[in-house]
């Protein structure tokens, strides 16, 4: 196996990147570009769609086709691209605020439609770019710049949401496991229908600082200890599961994707 670098998709002169030391976005981007290379993606056939937030800056580093959109709406833009040209590889990069807080409606509907997009979500449990405010994935009780005495709300389980909404492929990984992340992204890209890879990411600058994990190392250790391979996680009792999360491939199924269904209906309509 050759060692893919993904450099052919990287814009020259852009490194080092803008993200904070310890942030997982760079690891995700590296894994995604290596996955592209290992799958033989051509830059001209690949469209990366981003939203707004730290993750939304990722397109600036790429020399694929790209569309940088509004906060929360990246999946809707990507839906239009893919629906009109199903030959394109369309990948959507979002944060947790983007994908399931402001953009939650688009997220469940993209999964329900099972449109052949790959969503990669960097979940860092808070709004990084705007200064560490609470998001829909901030765990209950945690501290952020807008939950100074603890978060009164509960958090979304993004993977569970994708599963019940109808995604064909759902996986979760942490930057602690870069190689595995790349492998999961490859599977997601290869899967026809809606696929999701959620990346639990450290945000030492904000979430870590507010929750006694100021050092990157502490955040990574937190993710490493909490994250258990899915097989192991499923063996735990419900009470034990509360203290952990599953990593790896969580859902893998082959429901017909939107474009295929649309073409089936077109065949029926034009036969009349």
């Amino acid at each position: 196996m050759s060692h893919a670098t993904g450099v052919r998709y990287l814009k020259e002169g852009m490194l080092p990147h803008m993200w904070c030391s310890g942030c997982g976005i760079g690891v995700m981007l590296g894994a995604m570009l290596r996955a592209f290379e290992e799958l033989g993606y051509r830059n001209a056939d690949t469209v990366v769609v981003t939203g707004i937030g730290c993750t939304g800056k990722a397109d600036d580093y790429l020399v694929t086709h790209a569309l940088h959109t509004t906060h929360g709406r990246a999946l809707a833009y990507a839906t239009g691209i893919k629906a009109f040209n199903p030959k394109l590889h369309v990948v959507v990069l979002m944060g947790d605020g983007d994908s399931v807080t402001i953009g939650g409606n688009h997220f469940i509907h993209a999964a329900r439609r099972n449109i052949d997009l790959t969503a990669i979500i960097i979940n860092n449990f808070n709004y990084g770019m705007t200064g560490g405010q609470v998001s829909a994935t901030t765990p209950g009780g945690r501290y952020t710049s807008t939950t100074s005495w603890g978060n009164p709300e509960r958090d979304f389980d993004i993977c569970a949401l994708a599963e019940v909404a109808g995604a064909n492929y759902v996986a979760r990984e942490t930057p602690y496991h870069g190689w595995e992340m790349k492998e999961l992204i490859k599977e997601a890209l290869n899967k026809k229908g809606f696929s999701l890879v959620e990346v639990f990411s450290p945000c030492p600058t904000h979430f870590g600082k507010n929750n006694e994990m100021r050092q990157t190392r502490e955040m990574l250790d937190w993710l490493k200890e909490k994250g258990l391979p899915v097989e192991q996680y499923r063996k735990l009792s419900v009470a034990e599961q509360e203290n952990h999360f599953a990593i790896g491939k969580l859902v893998d199924r082959d429901a017909t994707d939107f474009n295929t269904r649309y073409e089936e209906i077109r065949a029926r309509a034009t036969a009349l």
């Binding site: 086709h65 790209a66 959109t69 509004t70 629906a83 394109l88």
Partner: protein, 386 residues
């Protein structure tokens, strides 16, 4: 520029049908080459979605009902960048939801068409009743600072013709174009005959040529507009809602920002004469000038005919292009008349305000406003004269 429009009722030898304004707009879109529609049902525009859901399957296009209007305009922009002529249709509440992403189409210079069938508000208001209350929202509805093109048909034939024109402007100038009929015109059925293919000019966006490596999606030609590639082509490119340089990548340099913002306005200013479409009815010798748009054009023309029977020389200036505003046309005509009347289906006199701006604060502009969900009648307009 618009042959069909000039030809008017010349329909001999063709199938003549009784169709709705909404249907004429969907037929206009298909005629213009639209092959992607994404929308969300809303009265009084839903017939457009219903038509497209059937037709797109047959013409090789794609119809999608999205989860909301925010997603609809987003999908339209995505599809346009993938090479489609794409559009959506909505009404007040949905149009409000589309504003942020409509700004992306302005900023990213993405051709697309939005049909906003105007209904009576505020808010969800009277959903089945007509209004002309979105005039300022068409122009200023988005945050930031941007120019936009908005057209307003008054007949079913104009619904067709102005939708074709909207796509032509969108493609030619890389802008979103809004077609904003009132509910009356959108739901009215009128005799209509579909032009043959090729009979009405259809314009496609300029594609890049030369080396893909050198392609910069925001470097304009002499006409103020840059060629636009499609996702999937060898001309790999970036489009961004955020401030970007000539190559589409983030660029926060003040000089670059100034260049971008000015360029977005300038390309519309440069082509102002082509974009501003007006129509004159008996204005040559008029003492009384009605400045009207949409359905109120029809009431104004009927009022003018009646007034002429009474010996009062009345004429009508129909604004088909609402934005950019027809400053010059209004000023030229108003200069020659004694009385200017602006009838419109809103309380605030949105177009009357523009006319006032053009003619000066001292000008005597008689306003006729209806805001109860009912149309303006010729009698109501005539009344301000006697």
């Amino acid at each position: 520029m618009n042959e069909l429009f000039k030809k008017g009722r010349e329909t001999l030898g063709r199938e003549v049908r009784l169709i709705q304004g909404n249907q004429a707009m969907s037929e206009g879109a298909i005629y213009a080459g639209a092959r992607f529609f994404a929308g969300y049902p809303i009265t009084p525009s839903s017939e457009i979605a219903e038509d497209c859901s059937k037709v797109m399957l047959k013409v090789g296009g794609v119809y999608m009902q999205m989860e909301d209007e925010i997603a609809s305009i987003a999908a339209v922009i995505g599809a346009s960048l993938a090479g489609a002529k794409a559009f959506t249709a909505t009404s007040g509440p949905g149009f409000s939801l589309m504003q942020e992403n409509l700004g992306v189409a302005v900023m990213g210079e993405v051709p697309c068409v939005v049909i906003n069938v105007q209904r009576r508000g505020p808010s969800t208001g009277l959903s089945t009743k007509p209004a002309q209350g979105d005039i300022m929202q068409l122009r200023w509805g988005r945050h930031g600072d941007q120019s936009v093109i908005a057209l307003c048909p008054a007949t079913v034939s104009e619904c067709f013709a102005m939708t074709v024109t909207a796509f032509n402007f969108a493609e030619k100038f890389r802008v979103p174009v809004i077609v904003a009929p009132d509910e009356i015109v959108a739901h009215m059925r009128e005799t209509f005959s579909l032009p043959e293919p090729g009979e009405v000019e259809v314009i496609d966006r300029k594609k890049p040529s030369g080396s893909p490596k050198d392609y910069k999606p925001f470097v304009a030609d002499a006409d103020g507009v840059a060629p636009l590639a499609a996702y999937g082509s060898e001309y790999v490119f970036h489009v961004s809602s955020s401030m970007h340089g000539p190559d589409g990548y983030s660029n926060n340099d003040p000089a670059n920002a100034a260049w971008r913002v000015a360029q977005l306005h300038r390309k519309i200013e440069m082509h102002r004469d082509e974009i501003v479409i007006t129509k004159n009815f008996a204005t040559e010798d008029a003492d009384v000038l009605m400045i009207a748009f949409g359905a109120t054009t029809r009431a104004s023309r009927a009022a003018a005919l009646e007034l002429r029977k009474q010996g009062i020389k009345a004429g009508v200036l129909q604004l088909i292009t609402l934005w950019p505003f027809a400053d010059r046309e209004v000023a030229t005509l108003a200069d020659k008349v004694k009385t200017v009347i602006v009838p419109e289906m809103n309380y605030s006199g949105q177009v009357a305000g523009e006319v006032q701006r053009v003619l000066g604060s001292g000008a005597d502009i008689r306003r006729v406003n209806s805001y109860n969900g009912e149309v303006i009648t010729p009698q109501e307009i005539r009344r301000v004269i006697s």
